[in-house]
């Protein structure tokens, strides 16, 4: 209770200190563990919805609406699939035919991992769209890859497996975010080379 005690009664003091910090750690650790256990289902559900929203957006399907709308729309048209051990999503049209695939990608950005989906048409000749699920780029600069002006550039452009994507006529990089812009193309081109080149077209 008395801070002036410091100095005298060394053994007693140490014991007090140790007991205090142990109890405090247990109390706060307990509160956090409890809160985490309580909120975790909701956080996981939120993340799943965000993932589904992202896949829908990549295909160019309406991705607005509340959680239930998203799940219903997703489940009616999209099924998980695998291609070369990669978990991908296939998009089925009303007639049951495949309309396209959403392929997950991830790679190093400027500050952290960039993760998202590249949607391609069933014949692998056209990009249907591009979305990001996770990115930690500078807000306002690199972070703008996740804004429509950048992402929408990838809607319905043709894929050249030999050339890959390049900034120039069709695609614009982001001003002030050269590293992030380059990183995104690097990740996408790796995906083209490593995954799309060996794709077994069914």
């Amino acid at each position: 209770m008395d801070t002036a005690k410091e100095g005298g009664g060394v053994k007693h003091d140490y014991l007090n200190t140790i007991v205090f910090i142990l109890v405090l750690s247990l109390v706060f650790g307990g509160i956090l563990a409890g809160t985490n256990a309580w909120l975790r289902p909701r956080i996981d559900a939120n993340e799943q919805i965000a993932e589904k929203r992202s896949v829908l957006e990549a295909f160019g399907i309406d991705s607005t609406g509340d959680a239930q709308t998203i799940v219903a729309r997703f489940d009616s048209q999209i099924r998980p699939d695998t291609q070369q051990d990669l978990p991908i999503y296939s998009w089925f049209g009303a007639d049951g035919g495949t309309k396209g695939y959403a392929i997950p990608f991830s790679g190093a950005g400027l500050w952290g991992t960039i993760r998202g989906y590249l949607a391609v048409s069933a014949d692998l000749k056209t990009v249907l769209g591009l979305t990001f699920v996770e990115q930690n780029e500078t807000p306002g600069l690199g972070g703008r890859i996740d804004e429509p002006p950048f992402k929408e550039q990838f809607r319905n452009i043709s894929i050249d497996l030999n050339q890959g994507f390049a900034y120039g006529d069709d695609l614009d990089a982001i001003t002030g975010a050269t590293s992030t812009s380059r990183a995104v193309l690097q990740i996408l081109n790796d995906l083209l080379r490593q995954t799309l080149a060996d794709w077994e077209v069914v």
Partner: protein, 210 residues
């Protein structure tokens, strides 16, 4: 502590403002102030954590062994930051995505520990909570002011709404952290000058004793 409500508010918002007078919390002031929305959420997150950690540390102030008080402060602050992060993720997933790593970085903000060290460890709980709260509000106001200038000039928008009606060129420099250095520097200079003049209206600024 014979400090009235009014004095406490004025001290935290003006005479001892955390950013422009104490020069604390500068890292985050440089990083998040290119958008008003990010600044607002960062400011509110910090205000919430500072108020609660000051309250908790003040309640425990007579129990905490002095030798380990900083470890205890860090522990309490970290716990609240994680709590805020979890709650935002569960309740506001979109904002959580926009803020990315910033929420976790609240813990590194010197203002929180500054209030714990300078105030909460020797003042009663309610006063400490108010002190933490208004210190956070003072920080938030400075952030919003800097963000207002940076977002308006850098993007031509305010809170995402277009205000660049004349279609003027936007300044990329305003989007990047260096512009915040200049703006915060100018603000510190202005505020010091105004406060100095008030204290010493007739004479030139500067210490009285020679």
């Amino acid at each position: 502590m014979a400090e009235s409500w009014k004095q406490l508010v004025k001290r935290n918002l003006w005479t001892e403002n955390q950013v422009v007078r104490q020069i604390l919390g500068i890292c985050s002031s440089l990083a998040v102030t290119n958008l008003m929305a990010n600044s607002l959420v960062m400011g509110l997150g910090l205000t919430f954590v500072t108020a609660l950690s000051s309250l908790t540390l003040s309640l425990l102030r007579n129990l905490i062994p002095r030798r380990i008080r900083m470890i205890v402060q860090t522990l309490v602050i970290a716990a609240y930051v994680i709590l805020v992060d979890l709650i935002i993720k569960a309740a506001l997933p979109d904002i959580s995505k926009a803020l990315g790593p910033y929420v976790a970085l609240i813990i590194t903000n010197c203002i929180i520990m500054g209030r714990a060290e300078a105030y909460a460890q020797k003042n009663p709980p309610v006063a400490s909570m108010l002190d933490g709260f208004f210190a956070g509000i003072g920080y938030t106001l400075v952030l919003l002011l800097i963000a207002l200038i940076r977002e308006a000039l850098g993007f031509g928008t305010i809170f995402g709404y277009n205000v660049n009606l004349l279609g003027l060129d936007t300044w990329t420099i305003m989007v990047m952290p260096p512009s915040a250095f200049f703006l915060i520097g100018i603000l510190i200079w202005l505020v010091s000058n105004v406060q100095e003049k008030k204290k010493n209206p007739a004479g030139k600024p500067g210490p009285a004793k020679r």
